[in-house]
């Protein structure tokens, strides 16, 4: 809401500058986003009177004007505006003037003719195009009253005013009218607003001679008031009214429409004016639209209405969308002589939905949807008609049609001194609070620390105690509140085991060289379904904004691949990242997806680049497996972790991918991107992993019990065996596990070889076996026996040749 400082001062005493006012009101009531001075940067702009206007001898569209700017002699000014004419009072920028955008006006010659200034359009001196009257949109502005040549044009245009931008929150719609703003400013400075009412003189012809009115459902229009004014002349509004409107950001149109806007700005009460002659009936009916019923609104757009829209009809067809916009069929025009003026209170929900549905948010609809001051409906209507009579020369019909009406009453809220102090943490006294309520213009009676506060209808946002506490707090001043910490019984603040686990997992991965990424939970339909760890259906958002963010992710990998792509495009080729977050999956008839905590990782390029001291270490499957293994070991799982070659993840290389099992449960996978997938997505060779953390959280854990450091020495034996290529390390390890004997503590693979020194289709594996007894030193014999047994088992179970 644009608030004119000059207008405000007519309504309430404002003891401070616009800037001080903005700061103070922002701190106590309503945020003011800024203060604008329309005259900033403008100078030497005066009123001029065009004495003559002749065609320019060297141009078919320029004119040579002699303009009186209050000097001894008129000035010659070349003007290109199509509407310039002798006799006009206009805006003149003199040589040396500054106009909009800091343009400097100089003396000059235009096509050989001297030009001593410039006749200005409103836009040229900084007006927003949206507020320029349409008649002057493509030409100069012409004052419609005589002004002294040479006088200050900016003053005549109201440009020395200051405009305060009130950011009205939904609860403070009372300040969507100047009177409400005046109350608020008055409360801030303990000043009482003073409003001058415009008395209405009615004629003798009763309104019922013109019109009858009916509201089908009082829920739709709880108050509906109509007046009629006859024999008006529709014309341009006087300058003062135009000034008031454009400083409020509203375009002047004609006196009738301008008055409805003026009254809306003054009272916050939207009004609508119909051309009586165009109604086509003598009856107004407020009802719901029929489904499919057409209406063309004032902006020229056609709408197909439905039964949630409230419409004003002539008894047959709609003539307006109630509270939103009038219909083109009953628009006020220059030929209008009889005007029906409407002031009402429409159902906020319907107004809001209708305005949203047809993209027709207007000054009127935004007020109706937040509520209006029901005490002012008829006052606003009467004031509007009084002004129409004055500015349009018409005669008001006698009486108001009032098919529905609201009795405006104060709301009384009881509140105690203790409660206020209790909520605010203050020690305010009874008289302090009484004076705050009085400052706000509320009625207040107090007895024994109990206030009965009568809130006038203009503050319809206040109806419970908490609302009054807020009023007290803000007027008393938040700065004056003490700062304390809550005194309660002690509570324990600590992470849950799962929260601790998640954080430990993150820190571990960072220690292992992975940087944490955060990617989007909403992704494309295609990406959502890739790298799935568990079967499930995707969840899509209703009417997404873009297909890029349409479906909830079901994996933690594709986002990371986007990150790799992004970084690679910026020449960051070595990337090791992880993300911890949720995936969303549905099965069966599930509507609400299950949210599962996941962990994803993606690595590409080199672990470390070549330096003067060491060679580059490229990332490969086993580097990533090492990270995953270390991470899983940290979970102290009871059940063994197994990596099993897999081809079930289509996006992974069929020969370089492993499912990860804890016991028999598949809790993740790791592998290299399938080269075809990588190629299609312009990705380098990349290794990824994904783990279901929720599954890991619930998997049984080993209890930590301390073991003493071994007292007896260990003995190691190396063994090299040649086996068929198809035999896996896991198979060999199984044999060690089954036949290694009680003293085999550890088996470490230290060499894998296939090539010219072993037979075709064979490979050589070399392990170090560590034996140890906890109760005594192992004898040579014990070791040899165990070693021989396992050698035999390898030979028989795997056809291994021991070398």
């Amino acid at each position: 809401m644009n608030v004119s400082y000059d207008w405000l001062k007519e309504l309430v005493n404002v003891p401070v500058s616009p800037e001080e006012l903005a700061d103070k009101v922002s701190r106590t009531g309503i945020e003011i986003d800024g203060v604008k001075h329309p005259d900033v940067g403008l100078k030497k702009i005066v009123v001029g009177k065009v004495l003559t206007s002749q065609p320019h001898p060297n141009s078919d569209h320029l004119k040579l004007c002699q303009v009186d700017v209050g000097e001894a002699d008129p000035r010659q000014i070349v003007c290109g505006a199509p509407n310039v004419a002798a006799g006009q009072t206009v805006i003149v920028a003199l040589p040396g003037a500054r106009i909009a955008d800091n343009v400097k006006i100089k003396k000059g010659k235009i096509r050989g003719e001297e030009s001593l200034g410039m006749i200005c359009a409103l836009q040229e001196i900084g007006f927003n195009e949206n507020v320029v009257p349409k008649a002057y949109l493509n030409g100069i502005y012409v004052f419609n009253e005589p002004l002294k040549p040479g006088s200050d044009a900016l003053a005549a245009l109201g440009m020395h005013d200051a405009i305060l931008d009130f950011e009205i929150t939904p609860n403070r719609a009372d300040a969507l009218g100047m009177r409400g703003v005046a109350w608020e400013v008055g409360a801030t400075y303990a000043e009482k607003p003073h409003f001058v009412e415009k008395p209405l003189t009615e004629g003798t012809k009763p309104i019922t001679d013109y019109l009858s009115a009916e509201v089908k459902d009082a829920q739709d229009a709880s108050s509906y008031q109509l007046r009629v004014i006859d024999r008006v002349k529709v014309k341009e509004s006087p300058l003062w009214l135009q000034r008031r409107l454009w400083n409020a950001g509203v375009r002047p149109i004609n006196n009738i429409v301008d008055i409805t806007n003026l009254i809306m700005l003054a009272y916050g009460q939207p009004l609508h004016a119909f051309d009586y002659a165009k109604l086509g009936s003598q009856h107004i009916e407020v009802r719901r639209a029929k489904n499919g019923e057409p209406l063309t609104t004032l902006d020229g757009r056609e709408h197909e209405l439905d039964d949630r829209d409230i419409v004003i009809t002539n008894g047959q067809v709609p003539v307006a969308l109630a509270g939103v916009m009038g219909g083109l069929n009953s628009e006020i025009s220059e030929t209008t002589t009889t005007v029906v003026v409407e002031a009402a209170s429409f159902n906020p929900v319907n107004v809001r939905k209708t305005a949203l549905k047809y993209n027709l948010r207007s000054e009127a609809s935004s007020r109706f949807e937040k509520g209006i001051n029901v005490a002012d409906i008829n006052d606003a209507l009467d004031a509007a008609v009084a002004w129409m009579a004055e500015l349009g020369g018409g005669q008001s019909a006698k009486g108001t049609l009032s098919p529905t009406a609201i009795e405006a009453k104060d709301v009384v809220v009881d509140i105690s001194l203790d409660h206020i102090n209790h909520v605010l943490g203050t020690e305010l006294q009874e008289d302090q609070i009484t004076s705050i309520f009085r400052q706000l213009g509320f009625g207040v009676t107090v007895a024994d620390g109990l206030f009965a506060v009568a809130i006038p209808p203009r503050r319809w946002d206040i109806h419970i105690k908490a609302d009054l506490v807020e009023e007290v707090a803000r007027i008393y001043g938040f700065d004056n509140l003490p700062s304390t910490l809550p005194t309660t019984t002690m509570t324990i603040g600590e992470y849950t085991p799962k929260q601790k686990r998640i954080r430990r997992t993150r820190h571990l991965l960072e220690g292992l060289g992975l940087t944490q990424a955060i990617t989007y939970g909403l992704t494309t339909a295609k990406a959502a379904e890739q790298f799935k760890l568990q079967p499930g259906k995707p969840t899509r958002v209703d009417s997404p904004m873009t297909t890029d963010h349409a479906v909830l992710r079901m994996n933690m990998v594709t986002g990371l691949l986007d990150v790799i792509k992004y970084n690679r495009a910026r020449k960051e080729t070595n990337v090791a990242i992880y993300e911890q977050g949720r995936i969303f999956t549905k099965t069966g008839d599930q509507v609400r997806p299950t949210e599962i905590e996941y962990l994803g990782g993606a690595l590409t390029g080199q672990v470390t680049t070549k330096t003067w001291s060491q060679d580059a270490r490229p990332i490969d499957f086993f580097y990533v497996k090492g990270i995953v293994t270390h991470l899983l070991e940290d979970y102290s799982l009871t059940e063994p972790v197994r990596f099993v070659a897999t081809q079930t993840v289509a996006e992974l290389h069929p020969g370089q991918a492993a499912d990860i099992f804890v016991g028999d449960e598949r809790i993740g996978f790791l592998g290299r991107l399938h080269p075809a997938f990588a190629h299609d997505h312009h990705l380098p060779e990349t290794f990824v992993f994904q783990l279901d953390l929720d599954a890991l959280f619930v998997a049984p854990k080993q209890e930590k019990i301390a073991q003493p450091a071994p007292k007896f020495p260990a003995v190691t034996r190396d063994i090299a065996l040649q086996v068929a290529e198809t035999i896996t390390n896991a198979q060999v390890m199984d044999v060690f596990r089954q036949h290694g004997g009680a003293y085999l503590q550890q088996v470490k693979l230290f060499d894998v070889y296939s090539g010219k020194h072993v037979a075709e289709g064979q490979k050589s594996l070399a392990y170090t076996l560590t034996y140890r007894r906890d109760d005594q030193t192992l004898t040579e014999d014990e070791v040899t026996q165990a070693f021989d047994r396992v050698k035999l088992a390898l030979e028989s179970d795997l056809a291994a040749e021991i070398r």
């Binding site: 929150t169 209790h422 700062s483 809550p486 960051e572 060491q614």
Partner: protein, 348 residues
């Protein structure tokens, strides 16, 4: 030439040789040659039998003295030469200590998570629980229980991704407050919680908007919680995050779930409040919204609003990070440019 002169000559000649010899091997040769059984001193001593008896002890003592002196000279030289060998070895082992150390592989936590971790530990220290709710939320918890019924104009303030009429991507982390309030047993003590997490809004991504960002709501409910407590808590938090010298101010605002509602400004941590581009020359920076829990919110959770009350606040870790580190594009948090992310590996 008598023995004495001979020995003196011997000493003179060899003492210099010993001093000048520059290898341990040569020194050893000299030692064997001089002090060995076939050496000159031995032969002098052997020749003493031809001397008069009274001469012998004198010559003998003199010869021994010469031998001891030479022996000492050899020993001294030996120590010198050995030290030289060590010195040479150390010299040969000298490295350029200004060469760079080996690269260490370490990842960086995301800056938003760092901000959240820090706030979590701050609030846990004051006895708050950390609770994270579902990201796909029911309209009931996200809006209705937060005193935002359907058709409430405040729903426009939060353009929401709906999944169907009842399900949505949570547009705030407050639904977790509703869920917790519903379950909390006040006979076991007050409710003190924060709920950090990801939220979603229908915004076009640009430098200051993101359809996904983070929020952290705080809630304290008990019998005697005041707005002064809210102010004190937020002051402590702002000083923790933005510096001990900071002050805060509250301005009236509107949220459907609190009454009174306030916006909270912190004194500018760049200029200290004098005015600079960061605070747009106001000395203050808006950092969060807060207020006293609306009685409708308490009632919706079946809490007796006449007995219990409290405060709530909501802050944006993304915004905190942007303010604290001067980040001007919120998208930086989600495109994950490594050069951007890894700068936050150092504490700062």
């Amino acid at each position: 030439m008598d023995f004495q002169t001979k020995l003196e000559e011997l000493f003179q000649q060899n003492n210099n040789r010993i001093k000048e010899v520059d290898s341990l091997d040569d020194l050893n040769q000299i030692r064997i040659q001089l002090l060995g059984k076939k050496g000159p001193i031995t032969s002098v001593l052997r020749g003493m039998k031809d001397l008069a008896a009274d001469e012998r002890p004198k010559v003998g003592a003199f010869a021994n003295k010469i031998r001891d002196e030479l022996s000492a000279a050899i020993e001294t030289r030996k120590v010198q030469l050995e030290q030289a060998v060590i010195d040479a070895k150390l010299a040969s082992e000298t490295i350029d200590v200004t060469l760079p150390g080996d690269p260490v592989v370490a990842g960086t936590p995301h800056i938003i998570i760092q901000i959240m971790d820090d706030l979590e530990s701050f609030f846990m220290g004051m006895g708050y629980q950390v609770l994270s709710g579902p990201e796909v939320e029911e309209d009931h918890y996200n809006f209705e229980m937060m005193n935002i019924p359907k058709d409430h104009p405040a729903r426009d303030m939060q353009e929401t991704f709906y999944i169907n009429n009842e399900l949505l991507m949570r547009s705030q982390t407050s639904p977790m407050q509703a869920r917790t309030m519903e379950k909390h047993d006040f006979s076991k003590g007050p409710l003190k919680m924060i709920s950090p997490g990801v939220v979603y809004r229908r915004d076009d991504d640009d430098a200051t908007h993101s359809h996904q960002f983070h929020q952290m709501e705080g809630l304290v409910i008990d019998k005697h919680i005041t707005m002064a407590d809210l102010k004190g808590t937020l002051l402590a938090m702002c000083q923790h995050v933005f510096g001990a010298e900071r002050t805060i101010r509250l301005r009236p605002s509107y949220f459907p779930f609190t009454e009174p509602s306030v916006e909270v400004d912190v004194s500018c941590f760049r200029c200290g409040g004098k005015g600079c581009p960061v605070c747009k020359y106001t000395g203050w920076i808006e950092v969060l919204g807060a207020g006293m829990v609306h009685p409708n919110v308490l009632r919706a959770a079946k809490i007796d609003a006449d007995v219990y009350g409290g405060f709530a606040f909501g802050l944006g870790p993304d915004r905190f990070a942007m303010l604290k580190y001067g980040i001007d594009d919120i998208r930086s948090f989600y495109t994950d440019d490594l050069r951007f992310l890894t700068q936050f590996s150092q504490e700062g």
